[in-house]
């Protein structure tokens, strides 16, 4: 499993690719920048694309919208969520 900083960078790359952010690089996204409501200004369709991305890239299934809301708050919280969930799966 990559370290947290590598994971944050990878998630930024994936967001830029999947959500088609033109002229943006991972360096343009702060670890604690809000992804929704201000910050990057993502919307509910983008949230669904993040769910699809987590499933295809990391094998993580997200079903509960209300709990996902907190995990999707920023790149930092998303990276911690991915790291924890993949670690749990590796231990199983």
């Amino acid at each position: 499993m990559p370290d947290l900083d590598s994971l944050k960078h990878r998630l930024k790359q994936l967001l830029i690719e999947r959500l088609k952010f033109e002229d943006m690089t991972p360096d343009d996204i702060g670890d604690d920048d809000p992804l929704f409501e201000g910050g990057l200004g993502l919307d509910s369709i983008d949230a669904l694309e993040i769910v699809v991305m987590l499933e295809s890239e990391f094998g993580l299934k997200i079903k509960n919208e209300s709990s996902a809301r907190e995990h999707f708050r920023s790149i930092g919280s998303l990276a911690k969520f991915v790291q924890e969930r993949t670690a749990v799966r590796a231990d199983a």
Binding site: S44, I45, A47, L48, V51, V52, E65
Partner: protein, 137 residues
């Protein structure tokens, strides 16, 4: 037996799909007939009706068992290979990729016989619940 078309809010002339068959919980098929070469006459390409027909077909999967209204929220990566002519018919296949919250993502393909004619990714959304009448008072 109730037709899946009866579950759509669209009726003629706003219903673009002429037949819908639900294959399973994630897939449905439809048929689109183009009756005129220039149905809109306002510079809007009639080919867009094929995408609308895909969305209506998908609407039966997303909202067919529910009384809540939904709408076509977004279209992405749409590709239409050629202009279409009046009298042509297309077979539609839509697949539910993922649902999250009130949003449903679908992939759709339209076939001219066995040849792909158009494809698109599109999103259907359930309408937000109406706020309580006394909210904020």
């Amino acid at each position: 037996m109730r037709s899946p078309l009866a579950g759509l809010p669209h009726q003629i002339p706003f219903r673009a799909t002429s037949r819908i068959e639900v294959v399973d919980e994630e897939r449905a098929r439809g048929v689109f007939h183009q009756s005129a070469a220039d149905a809109l006459g306002r510079g809007i390409p009639i080919e867009i009706f094929v995408i609308e027909a895909m969305a209506q077909t998908a609407g039966v999967l997303a909202f067919g068992r529910s009384s809540e209204p939904g709408f076509l929220s977004a279209i992405d990566e749409a590709r239409i290979d050629r202009a279409l002519c009046g009298g042509e018919s297309f077979r539609l296949e839509v697949r539910l990729v993922k649902s999250f919250g009130r949003i449903h993502r679908f992939d759709g393909v339209a076939f001219d016989g066995v040849t792909e004619f158009a494809r698109a990714r599109f999103y259907l959304a359930a309408q937000d619940e109406a706020p309580e009448e006394n909210e904020g008072r």
